[in-house]
């Protein structure tokens, strides 16, 4: 587990950009956090780091956006469709076990389907300072090590 704090949306985005350098083809990143906790912002950063030129927009209504960058990027959002069985029918496994990088918002709804080795990111906002985000990361050792080597987070 890794913990860190960002102090602005810009910092959250920058962290995402750094984090992207630790990802490789086939990786799944599962983001969990309430409304306005910075999930889409973090994903924007990851996409920027993966050379995505498309506009990264929230897929809340479209359910999934695809971008092309260093890899094929699948930006999934389970806010509106929270039933695991519906996602399985939609073929989510093809993305979870595919060759691209899959970034999932509201990923707790897919918990049972997520592959081993998924990078879990939990985001929390604090009422005292509305710009601060507490970010906890639970990932494979190599990813956690890669993130901490970049100067982010305190390994627990």
């Amino acid at each position: 587990m890794l913990d860190l704090v960002t102090h602005s949306a810009e910092e959250t985005r920058k962290f995402g950009k750094k984090l992207s350098k630790c990802l490789k083809a086939g990786d799944v990143v599962a983001l969990v956090g309430e409304l306005a906790s910075g999930k889409t912002t973090l994903i924007k950063g990851i996409c920027e780091g993966l050379d995505v030129k498309n506009q990264v927009e929230s897929p809340t209504f479209t359910l999934m956006n695809e971008y092309s960058g260093k890899y094929s990027i699948y930006h999934v959002d389970c806010y509106r469709e929270w039933r695991l069985e519906e996602w399985l029918k939609l073929g989510i496994n093809e993305y979870l076990y595919g060759k691209g990088v899959t970034l999932i918002e509201w990923a707790d709804r897919l918990d049972e389907a997520l592959p081993n080795g998924t990078t879990h990111i939990f985001l929390n906002q604090e009422i005292e300072d509305e710009n601060c985000r507490y970010i906890a990361i639970d990932a494979r050792d190599e990813i956690e090590k890669c993130i901490s080597l970049m100067g982010f987070g305190n390994l627990r």
Binding site: L35, A36, T60, F61, T62, L63, E66, E86, K89, L90
Partner: protein, 333 residues
């Protein structure tokens, strides 16, 4: 000319039959009676598209008293949308086109939303015009110079406007979908009750950012408490709605003036918002701009708009090869 339209890009399965410029039938899965299809019509899932598509096509033919042999062309959404969902409609349409030996037309979903404006009879709408497409999934200002000639002048860099409505409704416990609920509460509210900041996008005068708006609502409700929020629902809704409409109005009319366009069309689900209609109509009148709002039934995802785009493609002598594939991130131009 009779065109069969098929739309399966996301949640909705839809089939429509267009005869010249008249919609004979426009069936949308979520509007089906539940009991007709074995109890439940799930909102999503590509396998459901498969199950529903055949039923809907048969029903569309029956209702319009048109036989398959009378269909002149098949128009199907190619993208943008969900790969699995798009493939179902596309494959089905290709099969029909091949079997009936009639033209196959692969349609861009966003272009469909723009062309939906031509479905209202005697609308008097002509190219060129400026289109504000505003829904749960999309917020774009498009300069529609001619059929097939589009320029995206502005778009949301994060949440769509419809999403901003929906997420605020969740914060205020108003249920889903949230847009209509906020519109309704706002009718008895004071839009000046609370000022929600209108975000500007760096290095762009025409892009939108709605993501910060829901954050403002969240913190306001967290600070003052849910009880306070529930006690001030109409005023809160009206203030929030005002911010969204204000942002849409500012950028849209700025572009209309700058590009010297005197016809404006509002498409997408949020076009049904009553405050948006009032504010936009008033400003358009003041500036001498003609404004069009398509019928609500053609604002949300539907196959009628796909058939209408297909018809226009035929008029322009454009057809698609049976080799075209679904493109989940298909750009407009």
């Amino acid at each position: 000319m009779i065109v069969l339209g098929i739309e399966t890009s996301c949640d909705e399965t839809s089939v429509a039959i267009l005869k010249d410029n008249d919609i004979m039938v426009n069936l949308i899965s979520s509007q089906l009676l539940h009991q007709e299809y074995g109890g439940v019509v799930p909102e999503f899932a590509s396998r459901e598209h498969m199950r529903l598509l055949l039923c809907l096509t048969q029903k569309a033919l029956d209702q319009s008293s048109i036989s398959l042999n009378n269909i002149d062309a098949i128009a199907v959404t190619r993208g943008p949308g969900l790969m699995g969902a798009l493939l179902v409609g596309l494959s089905f349409g290709k099969g029909l086109s091949y079997a009936l030996n009639i033209p196959f037309l692969a349609v861009n979903h966003i272009e469909g939303h723009i062309m939906a404006n031509f479905l209202s009879r005697d609308s008097g709408l002509n190219f060129p015009f400026l289109c504000l497409l505003v829904s749960g999934g999309h917020t774009q200002i498009v300069n529609v110079k001619d059929f097939g000639d589009y320029d995206i002048l502005g778009r949301s860099v994060d949440d769509a406007a419809g999403e901003a409505f929906d997420k605020a409704a969740r914060i205020l416990n108003l249920g889903y979908p949230g847009g209509p609920a906020i519109d309704e509460f706002s009718k008895n509210g004071d839009p000046t009750f609370h000022y929600f900041p209108r975000a500007k996008v760096k290095r762009s005068r025409t892009d939108f950012s709605f993501s910060g708006l829901k954050t403002s609502m969240l913190y306001l409700v967290k600070q003052k408490g849910q009880e306070w929020a529930q006690g001030n629902l109409p005023d809160l809704c009206a203030s929030y709605q005002e911010a969204i409409v204000d942002m849409l109005r500012t950028n849209t009319f700025l572009m209309a003036k700058e590009k010297n366009i005197n016809t404006l069309v509002i498409a997408g689900g949020v076009a049904a918002n009553s405050r948006l209609r009032r504010v936009f109509s008033k400003e358009a009148k003041n500036l001498g701009i003609r404004i069009f709002f398509p019928s609500p039934e053609y604002c949300t995802d539907n196959a009628a708009m796909i058939a209408r785009t297909g018809l226009e493609m035929i008029k322009h002598k454009i057809t698609s090869s049976l080799n075209v594939s679904a493109v989940p991130n298909l750009p407009l131009n």
